[in-house]
């Protein structure tokens, strides 16, 4: 079976800030062994197909996004500091003194400037500057910086995958490489068990989710599935958070319930989880989920879509923390759905 920790290390250390293809390349090469066909569309979405051999088989889409939050260079100042805008919703509180990689003519390590204590004014003591004013130190003067880095160069957190113990891993871009890994794990189960499925399976690793769920919209249109499961990460409880708005780390796949999600599919996923002793937790949202599920479900004339999430702490920081058992449980649940899901719908 797929080794989850090393797979997550490989996936999350690759860089997928909007427009960079390293993570998509890595994920595509890992997807290769499970798919009959793989293609890359105009926006860079990775699309693979696993055919079941049945005639007129219905098509089930498994989707996770491949991009990650990062920054994009807007300016280089006279001292050579790089100024950048967010490319996705990075957590500004985690930026001072953070280590980054700037993808100029090659990758350059850098440090986001932090304000020394002697320059802090009483009145602004706890408000951080705007991201674009923070500046990033790559050790270059203005002339050097301008010759190696340009406006539009992408910036990621420094790849920093680490296992805390046998089950917990931390690093950048677990959002949503955890989802990518869950889909690969599902495909691995189907392959190992030589499971016959009712469905043809399409896999999409979508770009630009962090910029407004854009990649999923065009790739779902292209694939035009009969059913879809989007896999993303969601909030896991921390002591300062509202427990009603969070899942729990290590307590299983989060099954989404929302007006925008297909309720029959959610019911079916719950049933499969209960019948097969797969830990799960309900994630109920009052409206849009803010994930690719919405842009898949309103493609064409509409696609019934479910959302499975991996609980994650410290979202959009360099130290996102997940429990690999949750990733595996999401993968297991999808494999069961692919195998038996059709009957319940």
């Amino acid at each position: 079976m797929m080794d989850m920790i090393s797979s997550l290390e490989r996936l999350s250390n690759a860089v997928g800030v909007g427009g960079l293809t390293q993570a998509a390349d890595e994920a595509q090469s890992m997807l290769g062994e499970f798919c009959d066909e793989i293609e890359r569309d105009a926006l860079g979405n990775v699309i693979g197909y696993r055919r079941c051999g049945g005639e007129n088989a219905r098509l089930l889409l498994l989707e996770a996004h491949i991009d990650e939050v990062g920054l994009i260079v807007t300016d280089i100042d006279d001292m050579g500091f790089i100024h950048a805008a967010p490319c996705g919703g990075v957590d500004v509180r985690a930026l001072p003194a953070a280590e980054v990689m700037i993808f100029g003519d090659k990758p350059y390590p850098g440090v986001i400037c932090s304000i020394p204590p002697h320059l802090k004014k009483k009145d602004d003591k706890d408000i951080l500057p705007d991201i674009v004013d923070m500046g990033i130190d790559v050790g270059m003067n203005a002339e050097e910086a301008k010759s190696h880095i340009r406006q539009g160069s992408r910036i990621s957190f420094k790849p920093n995958f680490t296992a805390l113990d046998d089950y917990h891993v931390s690093g950048k871009a677990m959002d949503d490489r955890a989802g990518v890994a869950a889909i690969l794990y599902c495909l691995d189960i189907l392959k190992e068990q030589q499971t016959e499925t009712d469905y043809d399976i399409a896999v999409i690793f979508a770009v630009q989710e962090e910029l407004g769920c854009r990649g999923a919209a065009v790739s779902a249109y292209r694939v035009s599935p009969d059913y879809a499961i989007a896999v993303d990460v969601s909030f896991a409880l921390t002591p300062d958070a509202d427990s009603a708005k969070c899942g729990r780390l290590g307590e299983g796949a989060m099954i989404g319930r929302s007006p925008t999600l297909d309720n029959c599919m959610a019911n079916q996923l719950v049933k499969l989880a209960e019948e097969n002793d797969i830990p799960y937790q309900n994630e109920v949202m009052g409206g849009a989920t803010g994930t690719d599920a919405e842009s898949i479900s309103d493609a064409h004339a509409g696609i019934p879509t479910a959302l499975l999430s991996v609980p994650l702490r410290y979202m959009h920081t360099p130290s996102e923390l997940i429990d690999i058992r949750d990733v595996q449980n999401v993968g297991r649940l999808m494999a069961l759905f692919a195998e038996k899901g059709g009957s319940g719908l």
Partner: protein, 343 residues
Amino acid sequence: MTRLKKLCSLEGVSGREDAVREYILQALEASPAEIQASTDALGNVIAQVRGKKRAVNKLAFVAHMDEVGFIITGATDDGYLRFATVGGIESSVIFGRRVRINGKYGVVGGKAVHQIKGDDKKKEVPFDKLLIDVAAENKQEALNIAKPGDVAVFDSDYAELYGDRLKARAIDDRAGCALLLEMAAQTPEYDITLAFTVQEEVELRGAKTAAFQINPDIAVIVDSTTAADTAGVESDKQVCRVGGGPVISFMDKRTLYDIKLYDTIFETAKKIGIKAQTKSMVAGGNDAGAIQLSRKGVRVAAVSLPCRYLHSPSCVILQADFDAALKLLNALTCEFAVMDELA
């Protein structure tokens, strides 16, 4: 720079300098110079290095072994470790960082930014809201990983940035330790005493007992100091610049430095053809504060490396500043060892 790299990889939060001390004792042992090294009750390493010639003035060079970090104060019922900072760490550089603790890892964070409204998204998270997440299920599991009194450091490795810049966690003051070890790697021109002190980050405590024992005529403190030549900081607030050479202090929050030594250092820098700079603000403080007031008083000078993002996981210095500081310190040995008019 393998020596600095090694020193920065060691963990040595104030009061727990053991690994650093062990490395320094080994390095001194390996030197061909004639060195007598000892460790005092607080853990300071004091090394008498015999030079080619006898010094008229008893001359000490001082760098501190300890670094800022975190000390565990307990655990919450849901399995998070509580901590206090050791030394001055800004809360703004802690959020979202990973820490190393007893060979394991933890994460300091809070609820997702998505769950925060309006301007609070940009608000620094205060210390009393910060906890270390070691992925423990409950209090006992957390305490199995770290007990009250155990210490943690930022998880940040040594790396080389563009243009011979060095980035690491504990540059303050392993860079000073590395400079002192370089000085002792060959027989110096005159007898010198090296002091590798403990507990600088908590009120300069090691330096106090070290100075008492050494009883020097002149002490040169070799430390790392805040360079604020960073994005958006006006030149009058930059204090000093990376690339401007070693930083010679006239005054900081703890010490008014000996003016004759101060002038001599700049003259020496000029003579040997290296850049040197001073601090353009009265800020910070170092072991000089304790040493100057030892016994009946000691003449003190500070030669520091300009360091950006001091006390953060990502301290940055420039190789050229390090090299210039080493040249300067060796030249100062010759100047200060025989300097007269020390009434």
